[in-house]
């Protein structure tokens, strides 16, 4: 069965394990995006649309460099440009390549009601299987980063695949391949974390005292990480969440309440059944009919 992946560690709306005999024994993968090296050329956007055969609508200028203005079913990655005036009064152009963060604990997958519409591979990539998608949009509700988009045409949810098709055959993602400055690199999560640490030492020596790695623990870490000059203020980078985690509301909705509610519904029906068996129906018999008639006759 050569086309079976056999490495699915999480599968949406599925209570038993999926085929997962193949592990990521050489380490889970990660893409590291170094915002400090990014020049905002958008080659990553172009490579993404080329590799994935996506063409977004030609939009209009909305007064800033973001183009298209937002992620969409056709734009799985997007450079977001933020102009930040630092305390010294200098302008800093903080450019962040937005897209799926491939959370270790994915909120989209937790929220999805359709079996197998979202999977996570052993290497850490979170992938949508659109043929199983029912178009409810719960993944959007579950995502802490506002990433998935429902297609207006086919009503399926789409997002960055981390080029799972390329990674599966030993290639790096298209955006990584094309990045001219080496701001996007790809490898094992361990290697990327180590590489980021070197970058951060370098940045700190250049005056970015708060430089750091964005690998938020609230979602178990991510398989897309950022090096930020201002890791203490991720919000500066076009609203990157400071402490992202799966919302407690989503956890409650999709967590222990599901089996408990089902059990309670079954128990309600069972109590009714046992009441019928134990105590029995409440029947109207001939004596009630006679009593009713007596009362009618008694009245004038």
């Amino acid at each position: 069965m050569p086309l079976q992946s056999l490495d699915i560690v999480r599968r949406s709306a599925t209570t038993l394990p999926s085929p997962e005999v193949r592990g990521a024994h050489t380490g889970q993968v990660a893409k590291l995006i170094d915002t400090t090296k990014c020049i905002g050329c958008k080659a990553c956007q172009v490579a993404c649309m080329e590799w994935n055969d996506l063409r977004d609508d030609i939009g209009v200028c909305t007064g800033h460099y973001d183009n298209p203005p937002d992620l969409s079913e056709h734009s799985w990655t997007l450079m977001r440009f933020a102009e930040y005036e630092n305390p010294k009064g200098d302008l800093e152009w903080l450019i962040r390549k937005d897209g799926c963060m491939h959370c270790e604990d994915p909120g989209c997958l937790k929220a999805c009601p359709s079996p197998g519409a979202i999977v996570q591979y052993a290497n850490g990539i979170v992938d949508f299987q659109e043929e199983n998608c029912i178009g409810c949009g719960y993944c959007i509700t579950g995502c802490p980063f506002d990433i998935p988009r429902i297609s207006k045409q086919d009503k399926k949810a789409y997002k960055c695949t981390l080029c799972s098709d390329r990674v599966a055959v030993g290639l790096e993602p298209a955006c990584v391949k094309t990045c001219p400055t080496g701001a996007i690199v790809f490898g094992t999560k361990e290697d990327m974390t180590r590489h980021a640490a070197e970058r951060i030492v370098d940045l700190k020596s250049r005056g970015f005292a708060e430089a750091g790695l964005y690998d938020p623990a609230g979602v178990g870490g991510t398989h897309v990480m950022y090096v930020l000059h201002h890791a203490d203020q991720p919000g500066l980078y076009s609203g990157l969440p400071e402490k992202p985690k799966i919302s407690p509301t989503v956890r409650l909705w999709k967590g222990v309440t599901k089996p408990l509610a089902l059990l309670a519904i079954a128990a309600t029906a069972a109590i009714g059944f046992f009441h019928y068996i134990g105590i029995g129906p409440n029947e109207t018999d001939e004596s009630d009919e006679q009593a009713a008639r007596r009362e009618l006759e008694k009245a004038p």
């Binding site: 029912i134 178009g135 509700t141 509301t249 009441h275 409440n282 009919e289 009713a292």
Partner: protein, 213 residues
Amino acid sequence: MSARHPDRIERYSSATRLNHWIVAISFVLLALSGLALFHPALFWMTSLFGGGPWTRILHPFIGCFMIIAFAPLAMNLWRQNYLERRDWVWLRKIGDVVENREGALPEVGRYNAGQKLLFFTIVVCLGVLLLSGLLIWRQYFSGYFSVDLVRIGALLHAFVAFVLICAIIVHIYAAIWVKGSIRAMTRGWVSLGWAWKHHRAWFREVTKDTQQR
């Protein structure tokens, strides 16, 4: 009812019965499609609706239809479900109710306290289901609301639907338990003895009316 049947009392007009069953059928479809998307173990029920995407498409429309169908039924039954002092006595003696000892209970009007509480439970649940349902109706409405609001909507929708499903199970069981009730909602009438036994105050009220006429 100008000439009253000697052995029967009309409890529900044909219009009310039709209205009730339209709501009931909608509810069953909604419960099945909703539960299918609620728990993975029940996802197979999406097949009853033509698959996952069709279930997702149909559920909210059936929901809107049920709300519209429920409105005249609710208005019809609203006043008769106001709680009275004697209803609290009835509720305090719920043990006698459950064990079929109706002799120990206060006289009941057209509806007993359990039926009245159920009625308003349904009204409140449907109101919350409508509002939360609009929040999570991704195709048309979710985009207008913040994701936090949509999350609360999703949780509320699931929780209130759970409460309603339990309430309707109680409602259905009560109809099976108290013999003669199902006929009231299918054929429209109850026997004199049924009315006298279960809803004596109502029995007096309706028989007095017909005698005066």
